[in-house]
Symmetry: C2
């Protein structure tokens, strides 16, 4: 790119024109973003919005600080699990009363998997994908061990998943949008296939919610979980969510039967009686501080037309891909995501032999993506705060690093990397 000054200018102009015409452009001001940074990691940790910052100040100073214990009633803390759940429900195509906020994605996976296998007690087969997000596989392993290893956990290559769902299958557990490649599983088809053979599906929506159109009710989904700190912008370690279709509520039981999932938590009875409806998926006390930041961020997302969000994310992703193809060909990048933006979520990944060092070098230069072992460089597209012109800076920086091989500098060699 450095040596093609003319086309460089043209690109920048056309990207500027896209920014100027962007109906979501004003949303960027609602976020507090570090200067001189192109943040392409909203898919890993979403940034702070002004509303969340203000909400945290209110919940700390005015609610905890002044209301103290009364905040459970006066500040709506007790209701937040369901109230915020319903708001997230609007982002995933779930009617009210089917989604709650609590715990981590991993804990919620355990609960939904346990509930799902208990609904099919005569079947012992669980189907999942090799290379699924690790915590999904780890939780499956933990559940299976605890239940006496009498499950047949069938970890399939992605292409084989669909056909392997059969009459022996109790549960299918899949990540809707793959954490690395961004590849999207066809939710409607898989739900249909599973239901045709009497199986239940648990979806991990961590990389789907607020990133791609997700229609749980319309596709007759059974259970789902998802993360609060990626595209939902809930802050580091934000609580996660759990969805269960209303038709399962009466029969479903999950083993993490803590007091917040009790029908009458404050009767202090010795016997556990599960709450009616989705609240039986709760366990312990709602993490109010984290849930409050998440609620403000979700409220902001709900201000925006979802089709405008999704189409801008796809456009950002497509232009980034084209700029990479145009300027970084022959520099060692290999696309590991589907080439078609319709087939992937709001992030894209490339493998590079020195992926870790390249990403560290990029971050040092103010372009923040993340590294996923062993070689993955992942870039996210967040339509609420990213500008089209950001892509220009990002690709120019990637080109400079790859072309100059500056990533070989020892500064960028491996240390512990965390998301």
């Amino acid at each position: 790119m450095a040596d093609t000054a003319r086309s460089d200018r043209i690109e920048l102009q056309s990207l500027q024109a896209l920014d100027d015409a962007d109906p979501l452009a004003a949303m960027r001001e609602r976020f507090l973003l570090p200067k001189n940074t192109v943040y392409m990691n909203g898919n890993s940790l979403g940034p702070l919005c002004r509303d969340a910052r203000e909400r945290m100040s209110t919940v700390v100073d005015s609610e905890w600080g002044k209301e103290l214990i009364r905040g459970w009633n006066t500040a709506g803390w007790y209701e937040i699990a369901g109230r915020l759940g319903d708001k997230i429900g609007r982002l995933i195509g779930a009617a009210p009363g089917q989604t709650v906020v609590s715990d981590s994605t991993s804990v919620n996976l355990f609960k939904t998997l346990a509930a799902a296998v208990a609904l099919r007690p005569e079947r012992r087969r669980i189907v999942t994908e090799a290379g699924n997000f690790p915590t999904d596989l780890y939780i499956l392993d933990g559940l299976s061990r605890q239940m006496g290893q009498d499950f047949d956990v069938d970890i399939r290559r992605r292409d084989d998943v669909f056909d392997s769902i059969d009459e022996q299958t109790a549960v299918v557990v899949l990540t809707h949008v793959h954490y690395l490649s961004g590849a999207i599983f066809p939710m409607a088809e898989i739900n249909q296939r599973a239901h045709d053979v009497g199986a239940i599906v648990v979806w991990d929506l961590s990389h789907s919610v607020a990133a791609v159109p997700t229609e749980l009710d319309a596709t007759a989904a059974d259970f789902a979980v998802g993360c609060g700190y990626k595209h939902l912008n809930g802050g580091p370690g934000a609580p996660a969510f759990t969805y269960a279709a209303a038709r399962h509520h009466r029969e479903m039981r999950q083993p993490l039967s803590g007091w917040f999932g009790h029908a009458e938590p404050f009767v202090f009875d010795d016997d556990f009686v599960p709450a009616q409806g989705i609240r039986r998926m709760l366990c312990g006390t709602t993490p109010v501080l984290g849930a409050s930041a998440l609620e403000a961020s979700v409220d902001l997302l709900l201000e925006v037309d979802p089709s405008a969000r999704h189409s801008k994310a796809k456009k950002l992703s497509r232009i980034f891909q084209e700029l990479i193809e145009q300027h970084c060909a022959g520099l060692g990048l290999r696309l590991v995501s589907p080439a078609d933006t319709e087939q992937r979520g709001a992030h894209i990944s490339y493998a590079h032999e020195h992926g870790y060092a390249v990403m560290q070098n990029l971050i040092a230069k103010g372009v923040v993506g993340d590294f996923r072992a062993p070689r993955g460089m992942r870039f996210g597209f967040s339509p609420l705060f990213m500008r089209y012109t950001d892509l220009h800076k990002a690709v120019r920086t990637i080109f400079e690093i790859l072309d100059s091989r500056s990533y070989l500098d020892s500064t960028y060699q491996r240390k512990q990397a965390v998301t």
Copy 2:
């Protein structure tokens, strides 16, 4: 009291003298407390300290807001689970490397109970107390159901617990300080008894930590969990903690095997390999916002000599009890806590036929305790911010309400009460 003006003055003077001589008096200024309120509910939701408020502002504005994803490394988010665990360890007599912060008390109970029963696979008996904090019983029920109901869950009267621990017992699960009465189980004796017959003990320290001397290592404890939002002042729904004695680390496994409990979470391997040591008790991503408030509050507690804290709490509790006896005799209160402050934690409970309405009336008049069904009125003693003179206002208000029967006003009748 209203009609004994002379003794009233004497009491107030002597209480003022105690405040004047209180070595912890200056700590009150470190908290942000609502005006004209005697807050006797730090055992249910501890108040906001200035350091926690400042820390929240830092973690939101400077860490999440400016560091974004880098905060996992640059702001120490990844280490907080163990770093803060070790700090809490100092409050419960646990050497470093045995305590982590994560999840809720209920979730951590599930993990520790599952780990404990797995260490005694040949035994099926679990001993606990009738009237234990409900979530402890509910979680036990959930675990037992999930493992095929093949446990004999033996729920004993408090007095029978000790003798019922026998050679068939796999696990004993008890709350160290009872949530209502405050009665303290003798930890050393119960650990000893259990170990003599080869059983394992799981302690719930929710009402113990920072309230009574607690010596896990010295009493050879096995496992413990506890709450972050009571005497630790971590804020509403603060994350909880888990302790496991180092001697169990190698063999212990727990089924909530999420990625944060993996030996190498960022290698993204399909197979779960548990972390060495206490980190294998973790599950999902650390709730950073809640953990940050908790850490600031714990740091404040660690500034103070524990014996000064414990002796002031006992003294507050004893004087409150004496004032109640002196001024509220014959007004329908019945002590449900042990009469000896050595036998109870840092709260006291009285039953009253109209307990709910009396407590609502009290709260309306600025004396905040809490109600515990069916008749319990509970008052906590928090040595860092309570003054001896607060007890005077509290007991005078209790007397006025009971004597005038103002609690019969419909304003104070039952609505949903929450802690």
